[in-house]
Point group: C2
Chain length 208, copies 2
């Protein structure tokens, strides 16, 4: 077997193969980078069918990053995947409260998930920020509720929660509103690595 060991060569060959799956789709240049990274992460070219971009998503995301916006995540796996060094060079940080004692206490008191409690605690700090939700539909419902209540207005919501209880519904709600630009993936599929891919693709294209 002819194994490719060189990282640069693997990356280039991957992207060539992925590019070949995108014939017939029309994406802007940054959108296309995002789509390619999501396919790269999942190993599944079909996933492109479920991706949705708000018309202002790229502009809003890039402009927030350039302005030093923080990225607030629902879970630590998402936090750990984001290129923090790159984000910090723009002035932003990746923040996740899910494991904080206060979050755990609040989630019990409020009878909601920790991920949702974390978002509620962030509250107005989400103004102008990038919110990335890769796991918990309840975190996305909570953010949409905070927006509706006028408590915060993120610059961009990257919403790709996963699962059979609320995920599809939370994402339908996200793409059904027009107050906040979004990047999402419809249906039950999703996950932290998909959200990571999207945020990192934005970070890599920022200033490029």
């Amino acid at each position: 077997m002819n194994i490719i060991w060189n990282p640069r060569e693997i990356e280039n060959r991957s992207m060539e193969i992925i590019e070949s799956y995108l014939d017939g789709y029309e994406f802007g240049p940054v959108e296309k980078q995002i789509v390619k990274r999501v396919i790269h992460t999942t190993g599944d070219p079909d996933i492109v069918k479920y991706l949705r971009f708000h018309p202002r998503a790229i502009e809003a995301g890039l402009s927030a990053l350039e302005g030093g916006a923080h990225v607030f995540t629902d879970v630590n796996m998402l936090k750990s995947g984001i290129n923090a060094a790159r984000l910090e060079s723009c002035g932003g940080q990746v923040l996740c409260l899910i494991s904080e004692p206060a979050t755990i206490a609040n989630s019990k008191a409020w009878e909601i998930t920790r991920a949702a409690a974390a978002m509620r605690q962030f509250g107005p700090r989400l103004n102008g920020a990038i919110v990335a939700i890769g796991n918990a539909p309840t975190a996305l419902f909570e953010v949409l509720d905070l927006v509706e209540q006028g408590i915060c207005r993120p610059a961009l919501v990257v919403g790709t929660p996963v699962g059979f209880v609320g995920a599809a519904e939370s994402k339908e709600m996200l793409v059904g509103q027009d107050l906040i630009p979004y990047i999402s993936l419809l249906g039950t599929r999703g996950g932290s690595p998909i959200a990571v891919s999207i945020v990192n693709a934005l970070l890599y294209s920022e200033g490029a």
Copy 2:
């Protein structure tokens, strides 16, 4: 919309829905828990078709965990997803070398990926351990090569690398050998969260 906010209720309802997708499949009890967690993580019931269990995988994995085996991962995202507290209560640790300066230097010198260099550095420490590869096909090729050379003999390889360059081939090679028990997912799909689900499902069933 009737949103379920309670974490326990979400989990229970999720597992009921997932269970309904498994009619007609025959899995042992721990295998079934693994399959359910993988579907839970990806949001995709179809993924069950690509899962492969070596006949001794569960027995070998559980017995290694009970004996305090370490879990060696290819990437940090996988490391961060594994329930380290649970593993530590059995005596094991999660270890990943991908970001170590030595790994970075070796990957350059050897002209291989960091993930593969990390596995080569672990070498004989992989004896009796659980190796979990969620991202890099080259890490899996490297481990299989170390096994073939007689350098190490892990107790179990959880191999779910992802992508279009080598992933499917590395997993075919894994399920085509009989020296090391494996749990794998054929084809281009894969990823760290899938490997995390598998390792955590083993950890949660251990001693249960």
